[in-house]
Symmetry: C2
Subunit: 449 residues, 2 copies
């Protein structure tokens, strides 16, 4: 058996190659995104956001300035786990039986303790709130990645974190709860008796398992009620997408080290910040004429907002507490089926990504979760890395791209984003292995398998 | 706030800097280790080992050859996660309030999917068995790291893996079991009715929770009964320590990149392979006159074989199925208290490490588990990395070294081995946070706290 260990597979950056600015795609849109609207349909301006967000984040939310400097203390904390790895998946290519001219690279975000890309925005959000005099952040978490990331960032930057965890997740994912508590956060099983929204729900249904919409309502209520407390959101919004662009900037440098330009850049999409983080810098690179890379967003067939939603104004949450945003949506009252990729169970999408999909700058595709888990295990066994179910949507799409290229006899360089690890998702793997997963196709209404 | 992001903290190696040989410390011992003895006290020669180990591993077990080439296919698989990271823990130094001349570095082995250094030996063991015509490996696992590593290696190299998992772990650590199954292994709750040893125990006590000793007996029985099946051990033995030396070889190169020579090299010790992996290459370096680094092994106060055991011949397992080895031991029938670092609950130690401790080449110290968890959380919060409880013994010792240097006003460069991540150990963290941990001091017999 031949060894290719002397062919380069790991494209590490030096410390001083970590990006020191964030890229704001709003500077380069063909048309600006539609403004946010208040619950009553009137324009939601910066002032309306100030009750729950600090001024620097609001500025990032609405600015069209192309680059934002990352503050030094944020760089220091990001630097505990960045620059991050970008590897060529040579053993995976071999397992798939790909020809020599089809290459697969992945950019991995699961190195930090919270285990996903969410840390990239949790850290600056904690920082900007802290320097704005805020002492506590309230937030919700469903699958748990976001609550974990904010808890970690709070511990690192010295700001209190209070997490409203969807009841059913609180019961089923004790490890996620313990993780947050280990980093000093207070974690509530939502709904609680601490908020009006929570009490109202408990009165209506004392046995409720909670929902993400309700957890958001509780966190927003807590934040709005105290001048020392703000709210933090882990995806969807422009400033969140902005913070994630450190991923794609690193990837561009690393692919240059690899001497290859990707033909397609793939990442999963829930609220969209992970995809934005990898893809937006490549969008700029395409604008600059340096790449022809296609940008491919991958979502679950059970919750396919980009491929089967409407591009229209809608609320970000079930309870209609957020502004209305112009985006691809399945309807704010759409309750996605219980697939095992909690981070992708969102009815809408980032307004920025939605706009770029609408303008055909970004492609989208939807995949079945059984194919996702099959892809995840094939990757895990070949590459010694256990991916999160969310991230594995990108793996499934990467396999499809690779096989299509192989069948067509074409060369193809594929880069996908691996947004997090799957160590706290092993119950989902067990369900897959034991044949207990069902698939839902939103488009046809069919239950598959 | 000043940022030190432009000061280097991550010392990554290029792909072609991954070591391609293993270092055999047996070449450089002042006195060879005492030979293994059979159950009856007669010399246990290579032939006696051949029933359960393949010839290349037996050769590595007994050889005094200084270097062994790592086979190409093993390099390929190791290369999916190696070279591994070595970082300076600048945020941790800051959190500890250390002076400028006390530096802490850590070498991290938790990148691979199985989450610990165990993969470094699981991969070559799977390989050598496969090329020797073996189709199945039987093994035991307690805490689960070793079973996870061998399951992963089996999937990567195409050899079946059958794991006898200690009953109580099987019940309490479903995620570990699912991990192994995800990589295609068969996992049994030990004792089983598949072996004589298991059936005998079940007859005696149908409700038994199992033990590591019994699980070893079952795995060895299965291996000995079939010519196609061998046994694999995750620590203690010389060939296991040999395979781990890739860690220390990388660390030496990386500390050279950092421009510093460690004053002390620290790692935790259970069976000893993790410590051996980091420390043996530094032992050679000291022999070569290139370093004066102290080598410090850290064990739990509840199971302190190196600091409170006797240096004598003893069996490796409770059931006396293994050869007798000359080592520091608390007695093969010693049952360690249920501390939350399963990987360190072993009555004995690697014969090689024992010999070097006996000859004062290696120092040893013992720590309380509460101090270990406090150290783990301080590190986790500062460095965005959740360590395994086993690995955190090294963190606790590193803190003690750093504080001692600071108090003495002396410069000190500390390198510790972080053998794995703690994502599947969160239940232990919860017990610590909730004040449910007790400490046991073997030396005094006291229950502390």
């Amino acid at each position: 058996m031949a060894s290719y260990v002397h062919e380069r597979s790991r494209f590490n950056l030096e410390d001083n190659e970590m990006p020191t600015q964030w890229y704001n795609v709003q500077a380069d849109l063909a048309h600006p995104i539609a403004p946010y609207l208040g619950p009553d349909g009137s324009l939601a301006d910066a002032e309306a956001l100030a009750a729950i967000f600090p001024e620097p984040l609001i500025e990032q939310e609405i600015s069209t300035q192309r680059w934002f400097d990352i503050p030094g203390p944020v760089l220091d904390v990001l630097h505990t786990y960045r620059p991050g790895p970008l590897n060529r998946a040579r053993m995976f290519e071999k397992a798939l039986g790909l020809p020599d001219n089809v290459h697969i690279y992945y950019k991995y975000e699961g190195i930090n303790a919270s285990g996903s890309h969410k840390a990239n925005t949790a850290i600056p959000q904690a920082y900007y709130n802290k320097i704005s005099g805020i002492t506590k952040l309230a937030t919700e978490t469903g699958a748990g990645q976001w609550g974990s990331a904010l808890s970690m960032a709070g511990a690192q930057l010295g700001i209190e974190v209070e997490v409203f965890m969807v009841g059913v997740s609180y019961d089923q994912k004790p490890y996620r709860r313990i993780f947050m508590e280990s980093f000093g956060a207070t974690v509530h099983r939502s709904p609680t008796t601490l908020t009006e929204a929570g009490r109202a729900m408990l009165e209506k249904d004392p046995d409720t398992l909670g929902s993400l919409g309700l957890a958001i309502s509780e966190a927003v209520e807590v934040a709005a009620a105290s001048p020392d407390t703000n709210y933090a959101l882990g995806s969807v919004l422009n400033h969140v997408c902005l913070h994630q662009t450190i991923i794609g900037q690193e990837a561009i440098k690393q692919m240059e080290l690899a001497g290859e330009e990707p033909d397609v850049v793939i990442a999963c999409v829930g609220g969209g910040s992970n995809f934005a983080g990898l893809a937006f810098p490549y969008y700029l690179r395409r604008k600059e004429g340096k790449t022809g890379a296609r940008l491919l967003a991958v979502e679950p067939k059970a919750c396919p907002s980009l491929t089967h939603g409407s591009f229209e104004y809608d609320f970000g949450d079930e309870a209609k507490l957020t502004p209305q945003m112009m985006m691809y949506t399945l309807g704010h009252d759409f309750v996605p089926p219980g697939i095992h990729a909690g981070g992708l169970r969102y009815h809408g999408d980032s307004p920025l990504i939605s706009q770029l999909v609408h303008e055909n700058e970004i492609e989208a595709t939807a995949v079945y979760q059984k194919d996702v888990f099959a892809a995840a295990l094939e990757f895990a066994r070949a590459e010694a890395l256990l991916p999160a179910p969310e991230s594995s949507h990108a793996i499934a799409a990467a396999i499809a791209e690779a096989k299509a290229a192989a069948e067509a006899g074409e060369p193809r360089t594929i880069l996908f984003g691996l947004s997090g690890h799957g160590f706290l998702d092993l119950a989902a793997y067990e369900n897959y292995i034991n044949g207990k997963l069902q698939d839902y196709d939103f488009a046809t209404g069919a239950v598959v398998g």
